[in-house]
């Protein structure tokens, strides 16, 4: 779905059009889930975060400026929410649990989702997600992630190679 179409649906949702919001969810939830998964590493926290993100989108749809980049707006909400949750978890964690590793399900069950989490760093997962699911060009990803375009291109290529090799081993 194009950024323009996403922007249009957000604007319609802001006017109370629930059908438009449902369509927005159908078209973007997969990309939001994959993006949030790079922060939370497990399905259950990611699932919760997806619902919260869309709650925020619905509540704040009126604040979205029409004809601006709807895709970027959604991802910014998702990223801010993820960082808020992670910061709060670290702050709230009792002292004796300070060194505990957060629950993650990165043991590979052969799915692409699990293999990605196992073999790619968070940064690589995000680059692949933004490019494959969200359609961002490498130079746009470079701006989002504040790194040179060449770095994004080479990280993306390496990530795909690692993923393909790991998926072959799993078969």
């Amino acid at each position: 779905m194009s950024a323009n179409e996403i922007a249009r649906l957000i604007s319609l949702a802001a006017d109370g059009d629930n059908e438009a919001f449902k369509k927005l969810y159908v078209k973007t939830a997969r990309g939001v889930y994959a993006f949030l998964r790079t922060y939370f590493h497990n399905h259950f926290d990611t699932e919760d975060a997806v619902q919260t993100v869309y709650l925020k989108i619905k509540q704040n749809a009126d604040k979205f400026k029409p004809r601006t980049n709807g895709r970027a707006w959604i991802l910014q909400i998702a990223k801010n929410h993820a960082l808020d949750v992670l910061r709060k978890e670290r702050y709230d964690r009792p002292l004796e649990d300070a060194h505990a590793v957060s629950v993650d399900d990165t043991h590979s069950d052969g799915t692409v989702i699990s293999v990605m989490q196992k073999v790619l760093s968070e940064e690589e997962q995000r680059i692949v997600t933004l490019h494959v699911l969200w359609g961002y060009k490498h130079r746009e990803i470079a701006e989002i992630m504040e790194m040179p375009t060449g770095t994004v291109t080479s990280k993306y290529k390496r990530s795909v190679e690692k993923l393909k090799n790991a998926l072959k081993e799993v078969r």
Binding site: Y33, L55, K58, R139, V152
Partner: protein, 332 residues
């Protein structure tokens, strides 16, 4: 199924359904508060205001009357694999270039490449694009028979502009690099152009604006594997189909992923290329056959031969005889 499609399918199965609580949450309306801003007023005489208004009006009208008639922007697509859509401004300089597939994205992600495309003439920009495609390995400069394959380039446009000189320029450029090529141009209607570049034209939005404002213009294409073999065997030459299946299937998959041609057009192109090989360079096809059936120690791998030819090999012990026999008996 490639990993991207598999990933998307998995995500579809784990993404939670939209809850009613979220759906029914009301949007918080933003109130626009206007504030009075006190400002100093300057008192200007009515006469001075009138004069100023007339002067400004004259300048504005004169400016527009003196402008040369505007030439609309033009959009065209160049498909090799990779594939990209170019927008030319009124001076025929490239204003924007957008990837139609992910392979073009790799080329256009390079700032250096972009600098040699944006602001250049169509000829310069497309030559740079084609040159980059060759350097990045997208134009296959030699196949396993040792022969140079034809590079195929399609230039599509909608609108009145003629791209014949661009076609000639690209052919000449590739020829200068030692790459034989087929470059053809076509003028298409907007609907077909949108189909080529993979977009849905928005009502009331100019095509040029859609291309310029879209970050990417591609989506994953699905490969119908059943269709590949069936269409290829329709060519009727079982021998060529048998030995070429794996090699050509991979090529067909790559073509289909970028959808440069539909399957029928692709098979027609392959038939044409194979006819050229059949008629004039049959020995190279033999080398390809040799490649397919020789094992890593360069011995003929008998289990890959059919029974008839196994017998011939056993009798003759010579690959040349074996190949001649296939030449005489295998072709229809």
């Amino acid at each position: 199924m490639n990993w991207k499609n598999k990933w998307k399918k998995e995500l579809n199965s784990v993404v939670p359904k939209l809850s009613d609580t979220v759906l029914n949450t009301p949007t918080e309306k933003v109130e626009i508060k206007s504030e009075r801003v006190k400002s100093r007023r300057k008192f200007i005489s009515f006469g001075a205001l009138s004069f100023a208004a007339v002067l400004v009006l004259t300048l504005v009208v004169g400016f527009y009357l003196l402008q040369p008639p505007t030439v609309p922007e033009t959009v065209f697509a160049v498909e090799i694999n990779p594939a990209a859509a170019f927008v030319l401004d009124k001076n025929d300089k490239v204003k924007s270039v957008t990837a139609i597939n992910s392979d073009a994205d790799v080329i256009l992600s390079s700032e250096e490449n972009l600098n040699e495309i944006i602001g250049k003439s169509a000829n310069q920009a497309v030559e740079k694009f084609v040159d980059s495609a060759a350097k990045y390995g997208y134009i296959d400069l030699s196949d396993i028979t040792g022969q140079t394959t034809l590079a195929a380039v399609r230039i599509s446009s909608c609108g009145a502009k003629n791209f014949e000189s661009l076609r000639a320029s690209v052919e000449s450029f590739l020829s200068g690099k030692g790459i034989p090529s087929v470059v053809f141009t076509q003028k298409v209607e907007e609907i077909e152009f949108c189909d080529i570049i993979g977009i849905e034209k928005e009502q009331g939005v100019k095509l040029v604006d859609t291309v310029k404002n879209s970050p990417v213009l591609y989506a994953e294409k699905n490969i119908d594997e059943n269709n590949i073999t069936e269409k290829f065997h329709a060519y009727g030459n079982e021998l060529l189909a048998r030995i070429s299946d794996e090699h050509l299937k991979k090529s067909i998959e790559e073509y289909l992923q970028t959808e440069i041609f539909n399957i029928s057009q692709y098979v027609e192109n392959i038939k044409g290329l194979l006819d050229i090989e059949k008629n004039s360079r049959i020995e190279h096809l033999g080398k390809y056959l040799q490649f397919e059936i020789l094992n890593k120690d360069n011995e003929i791998s008998k289990d890959k031969l059919d029974e008839k030819h196994r017998e011939i090999l056993d009798q003759n012990g010579s690959f040349n005889d074996f190949w001649n026999d296939r030449k005489n008996n295998g072709k229809k």
